[in-house]
Amino acid sequence: MTISTLYFTFFKFGLLCFGGGYILIPLLQSELVGENKPLKVREFADLVSVAQVTPGPIGINTATYVGFTQQGVLGAVLATLGIVTPTLVLVILAANLLKRYHASIPVQGFLRGMRPASLGLVFAAGLIFAEMSIFPGAIPWLDPSGYWSCLRGADLPALLIAVATLVILMRTKVSFLYLLLASAALGAFLCR
């Protein structure tokens, strides 16, 4: 892929990412992975596993890596800039529209629906992170007979870290950055 195709391909992905970067992985897979396409299946599998355990937004990690494999550092920078260009324009536009038409029925209705939906999604994200750490595998929501074994398989140190973090954040003024560092250190020795 040339430098300009990289930029515009990721620009397009940036526009298509509704509901966050999760959708990026299937998008990339269908457009960029396979025979006669820029990425091999094996390369893509490596990329997905590494992007998720590397700090930073998963979508940006993915864009940077794909860009780097195609055109080196310049490619990495352009793919990343490509995916965030629509964001810069659209978010500012949306923020202004919300402010300008704040009292109108559509905006009030939008907020009335989206505020609780956001809360639900944040809770769900918390549960999904719990499935990645405390309850390895997945929580068997639809199969109550699996609850007990899921609970028994729980990673206790991870559970303690999560509860301690919650209590400390709600009760004290300790910065979350220290909590993150301490959790990583504790996890290295105690978690599976």
Binding site: G19, Q108, A117, G126, S133, G187, A188, L190
Partner: protein, 211 residues
């Protein structure tokens, strides 16, 4: 102003927003996002929780309501959640320069880290399989579980103000966590329902007034 004082993470009283120049705000945004995205694993929601910790709880530059609005905009507009939130927070606090500063802060750590890893990708695979590295990853994600729930609990009182809110929230929660539906459908559903209910409410209120 002593710059080490505000960027070291140890200051007890961050500067109030109104006393600051645009450059200073841009710098703080940039640096805060650098710190957050270079430490926080797990992508969008984890980063949003960290942003809430940094800008609401610690610096008091944003209110809970600002964060709720940030999350709604962030999820509605296409794009990567963390970057959407960076642009929104940056724009709200420092206009266009603020938005660019925060956005750059959100992407630079990824660029550096991934370029460094890409060169040794096959060995990186082995490295992340090591027990201690896996343990550290689990510990970090567990900490993020706590952070995300703290954010959700703080949002609760502001959001759960009517029965409709419980219904929409519950559907979004179950839809994503249990049935793993793509968030975009949950979001569209919530928007359509919200606008429909709001229209009915406003029209019936108008109808009553005319009687």
């Amino acid at each position: 102003m002593d710059s080490a004082k505000t960027t070291g993470g140890r200051d007890e009283r961050p500067e109030p927003l109104r006393d600051l120049s645009r450059w200073r705000i841009g710098w703080v945004l940039f640096w805060s996002y650098i710190r957050i995205t270079s430490l926080v694993l797990g992508g969008g929601y984890a980063i949003i929780a960290a942003v809430q910790e940094e800008f609401v709880r610690r610096r008091k530059w944003l209110t809970e309501d600002d964060v709720i609005e940030m999350i709604t905009v962030t999820q509605t507009v296409p794009g990567i959640l963390a970057c959407n939130s960076a642009v929104y927070v940056g724009w709200k606090l420092g206009g266009l320069p603020g938005a660019v500063a925060a956005l750059l802060g959100a992407i630079i750590p990824s660029l550096v880290i991934i370029i460094a890893i890409a060169a040794v990708m096959s060995r990186a695979q082995d490295f992340i399989q090591k027990p201690m590295v896996r343990g550290a990853f689990v510990g970090l994600i567990a900490c993020i579980v706590g952070m995300v729930f703290a954010t959700a609990i703080r949002m609760w009182k502001k959001v759960m103000i009517e029965p409709l809110a419980y219904i929409i929230s519950g559907c979004a929660l179950v839809g994503l966590a249990v049935f793993k539906l793509p968030p975009v459908w949950l979001i569209l559903g919530a928007i359509v329902l919200g606008i429909a209910v709001q229209t009915v409410t406003v029209l019936s209120r108008r109808g009553e007034r005319e009687k």
